[in-house]
Every structure is written in structure tokens, then in C-alpha cells.
């Protein structure tokens, strides 16, 4: 009997003598030689459906569906005047290790008070139902900050359902908008907070985390300055070909993965793989093919934002005439010697 929790299942009758082997050469004789039923109490019940095969090792039965751990099976063999009987069940599946939070971004201990987004990376695809009920923001007294995030019942998930995007309520972050005027911003400069995912948050199979996740951080001054292109530093590719781009400040992690790219002198995209460090300030890129000497550039799509939603070409919100004019060039050239 082979009925492991993973992998194919089969029941085999091995060590057949020549006479027995001849007797089961006819496919119609095989169910009489080897039959699998779900219980001993109901002999009239049909045998379990499956297919038979005969090879050098012996006679094999493979069930149409995998055997279940919570059903008791009886295998009866009747060959050469001998009767064999075995009862078995499939091995129960290994208890699933609970899902957990792999990372919270921005990972820094200090967030601008007007932070716009946060990302929670889980270890496996999660159940999306009632996501909003399982995540909350607590202030330094452990009280829940009401309406901290935009409430979306099923949450904003990536297609693989491992990354949850949270929007700090933009109506409370943006100045001069009713909810912000009434409730104030969700984060206040100088205060401490805890972002919490409760223990009931479950994966797609329903296995709960079992233990809550918490990430502590402090709110710092609001960031209303666009990141500056002229502050982007590009180091020459390292010996292994990895290009490092130091950003002027931590940028939005998810957008970094989509809106930065390397172009050649003609403006064509250089294929390769990119990564963002834990502080969201260094973007690295390794081309699929070795670098050739010549001119390249890092292209910044205008949709790239910092943690507070400021773009390279304009701040998230601004009071007319008070902020520095944003930088415009969205292409940072560099050369490979």
C-alpha cells in the first residue's frame, strides 16, 4: 500500500508466481484478484474506482481519486487460493505551518506623518475575505486609530494574494479635504504607532496565522518635497555586473519595482532583473547580458512616488507658491567604461 500525503497512491500485489501472473493477464480478472473497498461492513458496496496495470513488479491498482485520510479502506487480494486482507487509510496531510508576515514596508522606524501607502508581504497566498477587519493601526496608548486606512472589505491584493497594499486614508493625508479637516491626519509627527495584523488572518486554505504580527514605528515630520533627480547617485557596475542606484530618499517599494528601468543610448530597455534593498533607498539591477561600454541611463517613470506620494515631477499636495519647484529631467545618464 502506498498512500502518502503527497505523491501518487497505489495498491500493489507483488511477488506473483507465473501461474498467478497468467491468471491476471486478462484485465477482467484483475478486480477479482485485487479489490479495494471503503469498508468491511457493506460487502454490497461497489469497489473503489481505479485502473489496474501489470508489470514486472506485480499487479497495481491506482485509484481514480487519491485515497482519503479520513476514510478506512480494505484491500482484498485473492490469488493462488490464498486470501490477503489489509486495511489502510491515506497518511494525513502534514499539519500546515501557519502563514506569517514576511515583511512590512516602509520598513524604516520613522515614517513621514503624511505617509501614503504601506505594504504587508505574507509568506503565502492569503484569504482575502474581510481583510479590513484583520489589520489595524494602534496609537501609543494601544487604541485603534479610526479610519486610518481606506476600508476595502477584501483588501487590495496583488494577483498572487501575498502582498496587501494599505492606503493611509488619503482624505486624511491630503490637506484641505473634509475627513482630514474633521479627524486630522492618521499619523501625528512625534507619536509612536503599531501596525497590527491579528492572529485570525488566514491563508487561502483557512489556516490562521495563530499569532499576531506587529510593526512599531514613529511618525516624523511630513514629507511634502518631491524627490530630486539630481540627487540620484549611480555607481559604476560592480565586478558581477550589478548596478547600484542610490535614491535621494526611501521611495515607494512597489512602484520602484515597476517604474525604474535601465535604457541604452538609443532609449531601448535593457533586459535584466532588479531588486530593492530593505530600506527602499537602493535599487540594484543586473542585466541579462554583460554590460558593453558606452552610454546608458536610468529612466524614472513619472508615476514613481516617495512614501508620501510625492513624484519626481510634482509633490503629492502643495500650497500654491510655497514649495521648491520640482526637478524635471527623468533620465539619469551614466556610462560604462
Amino acid at each position: 500500500m502506498e498512500a502518502p500525503a503527497e505523491g501518487p497512491h497505489r495498491v500493489s500485489l507483488i511477488g506473483l508466481d507465473e501461474a498467478t501472473r497468467r491468471s491476471v493477464a486478462d484485465a477482467a480478472a484483475r478486480p477479482r484478484a485485487l479489490a479495494i473497498r471503503t469498508s468491511t461492513e457493506r460487502p454490497e458496496a461497489p469497489g473503489v474506482a481505479g485502473t489496474y496495470s501489470l508489470d514486472d513488479e506485480g499487479l497495481h491498482f491506482r485509484p481514480l481519486f487519491r485515497f482519503a485520510a479520513d476514510v478506512s479502506y480494505v484491500a482484498r487480494a485473492s490469488v493462488a487460493g490464498e486470501r490477503l486482507l489489509r486495511t489502510f487509510s491515506a497518511e494525513p496531510p502534514a499539519p500546515r505551518d501557519p502563514p506569517h508576515v514576511v515583511a512590512f514596508h516602509p520598513a524604516a522606524g520613522v515614517l513621514p506623518a503624511n505617509a501614503l501607502r504601506a505594504y504587508v508581504q505574507f509568506s503565502r497566498p492569503m484569504a482575502t475575505r474581510d481583510t479590513a477587519r484583520h489589520v489595524r493601526l494602534q496609537d501609543d496608548a494601544g487604541r485603534e486609530v479610526p479610519l486610518a486606512f481606506v476600508e476595502i472589505d477584501e483588501g487590495l491584493w496583488d494577483p498572487g494574494r501575498t502582498r496587501l497594499t494599505l492606503f493611509f486614508h488619503p482624505g486624511r493625508v491630503k490637506r484641505g479635504v473634509a475627513p482630514g479637516e474633521r479627524l486630522g491626519p492618521p499619523l501625528v509627527d512625534g507619536r509612536s504607532y503599531r501596525f497590527v495584523v491579528d492572529a485570525a488572518m488566514a491563508d487561502a486554505q483557512g489556516t490562521p496565522m495563530g499569532a499576531p504580527f506587529a510593526h512599531a514605528f514613529r511618525a516624523g515630520p511630513a514629507d511634502r518635497e518631491p524627490p530630486r533627480v539630481d540627487a540620484v547617485e549611480i555607481a559604476a557596475p560592480a565586478a558581477d555586473g550589478t548596478l547600484s542606484v542610490r535614491l535621494p530618499e526611501p521611495l515607494d517599494r512597489a512602484l520602484l519595482q515597476r517604474f525604474l528601468r535601465v535604457e541604452d543610448a538609443e532609449g531601448a530597455r535593457v533586459p535584466g532583473t532588479s531588486a530593492v534593498d530593505g530600506s527602499d533607498t537602493v535599487w540594484t539591477f543586473r542585466p541579462d547580458a554583460p554590460w558593453r561600454s558606452g552610454a546608458y541611463a536610468v529612466r524614472i517613470e513619472s508615476a514613481l512616488e516617495d512614501r508620501a506620494g510625492n513624484r519626481f515631477d510634482r509633490p503629492f499636495d502643495r500650497v500654491e507658491g510655497t514649495e521648491t519647484p520640482p526637478s524635471r529631467a527623468l533620465r539619469v545618464p551614466f556610462a560604462v567604461p
Binding site: 461497489p46 469497489g47 473503489v48 474506482a49
Partner: protein
């Protein structure tokens, strides 16, 4: 549901499937959402997941007469034994009786983990992937479809997997095909498409060598007090009214609607005539036509109401149409009630019986031949 065959094949010879265009192999069926037998015992399988209809030749088999049929008890217990599962882990999706061998065929799924609310139908909960037939002794066997002569026709524009039923939080794709019926050389396929008006009746000539026609359909729901274009036909039969083939279709909550078959033209939108309102809060689950004392009647099985008998002559005589809200719970054509709750599927078993798949008060599911004389 049933074979809506106007002329039931009762030949004694081994049927020869004259149909051309069949290839031998393994049909790539993803969900056996609806079953119906067609001419010469060909089995039609409506596959909502694949958005396709298959015609399967089950091979030469002796023609049988129905003699003193017996109920098959504990259907789920027997299917569970066959599939190596617990009885609570198997589910029957549809029933069709082979008009040649008179054997009942069931489409069956294993596992019902997705069940979470009372209005889910079997096809909302799981995909049936196993075809099972019972032998005369009441023992089930899996029908091996690994190498059979078959034909497949892909339906144009079946409803997207991503579209949801708001009130039951399921994918509308489960209702891409809700029922099948064969009449006048064509297979009618009821379900939902991506067209502006989702409720659709496709028509496919058999053998499957011609184009598929798509007609979107709508009807007035007297219980809801509005015209509906999204609600799919739940069950229908083809029947001649005043000498012309009509489709008699029943919908959730429970209007009975007639469509003249010749009016179901490709790329047209057709309004049906609502001739009855038989009670809200109810799925009509299946419908068959039977003959008693020389007269044909329509029998409807329901999720929440008893069996209903409708006289087609009364439908013919009913000149009007329901176009205003019905405030009296039922309205339109008169119908009779008979005992018979818990009946999920029905089909004709010869001329004198209707075999029903029913949930008994004690919890068991059985497959019982009911003599038509009791109706």
C-alpha cells in the same frame, strides 16, 4: 436534468450512431454541468467551465425495456464507496436516463468544500468530473471516457469566469450552461453569455457541423415586477404548442416562460411570454414531459415547493402574458401540486415512470422510479 427528446427512442436493435464528425479520444471535459440524451442515445454534456458542449457516443449497448423498476437506495453512500470518499464528499450534479439501455447516468463531483450558503446549486459548489451509471442491480460504475467517439462544439462568448453573482458571491460561469434540450434536429443550450443581455439560448444543429446561433432572451418576472435579462433559464423542455415547437422555460422565483423555437434566431434579442408565476423563493430544478391517459403533461421539480403539474393545453389556451407584478404569490396558468419535495433531478424512464433523485426526510438521497399514474 433530462433528455428532452420529443420522440423517445424505443428501438430494439443495437443503436448505430450514424452521426458523422465524431473523433475517438478523450473529451477534455472540465465540468459536467448538464446532461441530456439525444438521438440514437448520444449523450450531450454541457460544460460550463469549458464553455462547450460535447456529444459522446457511449457505444453499442443492448436496448432494454423497463420492467418493475426498483429504487436505488443511499445513492451518495454508493457513490462514496465508488470514489473512495465519505458520503458527505460526493455530490450529484445531473441525471439523465439513457433511452436505449434505460440506465440512469449521473454527473458527479468529489468534494464540496465551497458550500457556504443555502442558494448554491451543485454547479456553484463544485465541478462534476465523473460520469457514473447504475447497473440494473443498483451498483454504480464509472463510465470510462478515456477513449470514446465524441464531438465538441465551443459556444461563442460564454460568460466570463470573473463575473460574479452579487447576492450569492459565486462566479456566474457556473451558469454558463444551465440546461440542454434536443428538438427538431438541434440542441438548445440555455445559459449565460457576455452579451449585453446575459441570459442566452444557443442553438447547435446536431451533428455539430454547422454554426452556433446565439439568441439573448428576456422575460417578465411577475414576482420581481420587472423584465429580467440576467437571470438564466434554470430548466426547460421543448414542446409543440399549437403545432409549433416552443421552449417552455422556468426561472428562479418561478416564472414559466414560452419561446417559439423558430423565433430564436442568431444575434437577435427575444422576449419570452411569461405564462405563469408559480411562487418566489424557489429554484425550479428540473422539468419533464410525461403522458398519462393519452394526455401529455409537464412536471416541474422545485427546490422549495412541491412538484407542479402544468397542462400544456392550458398554456395553449392562455392568451395573455404576465407583464405586471403578481401580488398574489402565484398567477397566470393554473397548475396542480403533488407531493414530492426534495426532488433535485428527474428524467423519463420509459413511458410509465419518471425516475427522481430525491433527498428523503431521513437524509438519504435515493433514485426512485415513480409511476406516472400517481400524477
Amino acid at each position: 436534468m433530462k433528455a428532452t427528446v420529443l420522440a423517445v427512442v424505443l428501438g430494439t436493435a443495437t443503436p448505430l450512431l450514424a452521426a458523422s464528425g465524431l473523433t475517438t479520444g478523450k473529451p477534455d471535459i472540465r465540468s459536467m454541468s448538464a446532461l441530456a440524451f439525444g438521438p440514437e442515445g448520444v449523450l450531450f454534456v454541457g460544460d460550463s467551465r469549458a464553455g462547450a458542449v460535447f456529444a459522446v457516443d457511449l457505444g453499442a449497448r443492448p436496448a432494454a425495456q423497463v420492467k418493475d423498476p426498483k429504487p436505488i437506495t443511499d445513492v451518495e453512500g454508493k457513490l462514496a464507496a465508488l470514489l473512495g470518499a465519505k458520503p458527505s464528499d460526493v455530490m450529484v450534479h445531473d441525471l439523465a436516463v439513457d433511452p436505449v439501455s434505460k440506465r440512469p447516468y449521473l454527473s458527479v463531483s468529489r468534494g464540496r468544500g465551497a458550500w457556504n450558503e443555502q442558494w448554491l446549486l451543485a454547479n456553484d459548489v463544485a465541478d462534476a468530473t465523473v460520469l457514473v451509471r447504475f447497473d440494473p442491480a443498483g451498483t454504480p460504475e464509472v463510465v470510462d471516457l478515456s477513449s470514446v467517439p465524441f464531438a465538441k462544439v465551443v459556444l461563442p462568448n460564454p460568460i466570463d469566469e470573473s463575473k460574479k453573482v452579487e447576492w450569492k458571491k459565486t462566479s456566474l460561469r457556473s451558469d454558463a450552461i444551465t440546461d440542454l434540450g434536443f428538438a427538431d434536429g438541434s440542441l438548445f443550450v440555455a445559459g449565460l453569455s457576455n452579451e449585453e443581455f446575459a441570459a442566452t439560448m444557443w442553438k447547435v444543429a446536431y451533428p455539430f457541423d454547422g454554426p452556433v446561433s446565439t439568441t439573448t432572451i428576456e422575460n417578465y418576472h411577475g414576482a420581481h415586477g420587472k423584465y429580467e435579462t440576467e437571470s438564466p433559464v434554470r430548466t426547460f423542455v421543448a414542446y409543440p404548442l399549437k403545432g409549433k415547437t416552443h421552449l417552455l422555460a422556468a426561472y428562479l422565483c418561478t416564472p414559466l416562460v414560452t419561446f417559439e423555437a423558430s423565433g430564436l434566431k442568431d444575434k437577435q434579442h427575444v422576449k419570452g411570454r411569461t405564462v405563469g408565476e408559480f411562487g418566489s423563493g424557489n429554484y425550479p430544478l428540473d422539468m419533464v414531459v410525461y403522458r398519462k391517459e393519452g394526455k401529455q403533461k409537464l412536471l416541474i421539480a422545485n427546490s422549495n415547493l412541491p412538484l407542479m403539474i402544468v397542462d400544456p393545453a392550458a398554456v395553449e389556451a392562455y392568451a395573455g402574458a404576465i407583464t405586471e407584478p403578481v401580488k398574489t404569490y402565484t398567477g397566470g396558468v393554473a397548475f396542480e401540486q403533488r407531493s414530492g419535495t426534495g426532488i433535485q433531478q428527474m428524467d423519463n424512464l420509459g413511458d410509465d415512470h419518471i425516475v427522481v433523485l430525491r433527498r428523503l426526510a431521513g437524509g438519504q438521497l435515493d433514485l426512485a422510479p415513480l409511476p406516472v399514474r400517481r400524477f
